[in-house]
């Protein structure tokens, strides 16, 4: 199990390769990568602010919650903060399990939790200046599935 918050970039392929290594007990590996989108407003960069301390606590709580709900074998949550450029990875979530349903459900659950209950705030830089991204009401509705 790995839960990490970092400013450095990471290689999603390497993280997935590691989850697949020496792994003859679990048949299914589901993963998600979130990338910085250039978007319709032509985003030049994105700065992710977070709440150090609380972020780590929340990520560990999500991990514990996922393991309580499903028979997860291995789990990786990695979330970046700081200034990122379009196309750079922001977040990686990977889950391995004996069966694909568990891997998919737990992975999607963790991504929803990160969207709605992890203390991160996005600021986008465009040619006309910087602005804080508003939370989508959709995300909260989606997260309620798990309650």
């Amino acid at each position: 199990m790995t839960v990490k918050v970092q400013s450095e970039s990471f290689d999603p392929g390497q993280l997935l390769a590691k989850l697949c290594e020496d792994n003859s007990s679990c048949g299914a590996v589901a993963s998600f990568v979130g990338l910085v989108r250039r978007g319709s407003e032509d985003v030049l960069a994105m700065t992710l602010q977070h709440y150090p301390g609380m972020t780590e606590r929340q990520l560990l709580a999500f991990e514990a919650e996922a393991c309580r709900r499903w028979p997860v074998e291995r789990l990786v949550i990695l979330h970046r903060f700081g200034r990122l450029l379009p196309g750079e990875p922001i977040v990686f979530v990977g889950v391995t399990a004996a069966h694909r349903d568990v891997a998919f459900r737990a992975c999607e659950f963790l991504v929803d939790r990160l969207k709605t209950r992890a203390p991160f705030w996005k600021q986008e830089e465009t040619a006309t200046g910087s602005h804080w991204v508003e939370a989508l009401p959709d995300d909260d509705i989606r997260a309620e599935r798990w309650d």
Partner: protein
């Protein structure tokens, strides 16, 4: 009591955090917000938009009714946008 601000709250209040000593009558997150609102025009601007704010006490999400003690770390911020 340590109070932290995130995202657009920081530029309005012009602080990331501050050490405050609210009156003894301040016993909940909501009462703290009411009192902070009186400190400066920046504070007033932030805390008059309560529907756009969320709070945490000791690094756990809290509601306006969450009780406070003087040693708590309280944070105010907009709805999160991670992931």
């Amino acid at each position: 009591m340590r109070v932290l601000y995130f995202a657009w709250l920081q530029s309005k209040i012009q602080k990331d955090e501050e050490e405050v000593t609210p009156p003894a009558a301040v016993k909940s997150v909501g009462q703290l917000a009411d009192w902070l609102q009186t400190l400066s025009p920046g504070h007033a601007a932030v805390f008059s938009e309560r529907a756009r704010l969320r709070a945490a006490v000791n690094q756990t999400f809290a509601s306006w009714e969450t009780p406070l003690s003087p040693t708590d770390e309280v944070a105010f911020f907009p709805p999160v946008t991670g992931g």
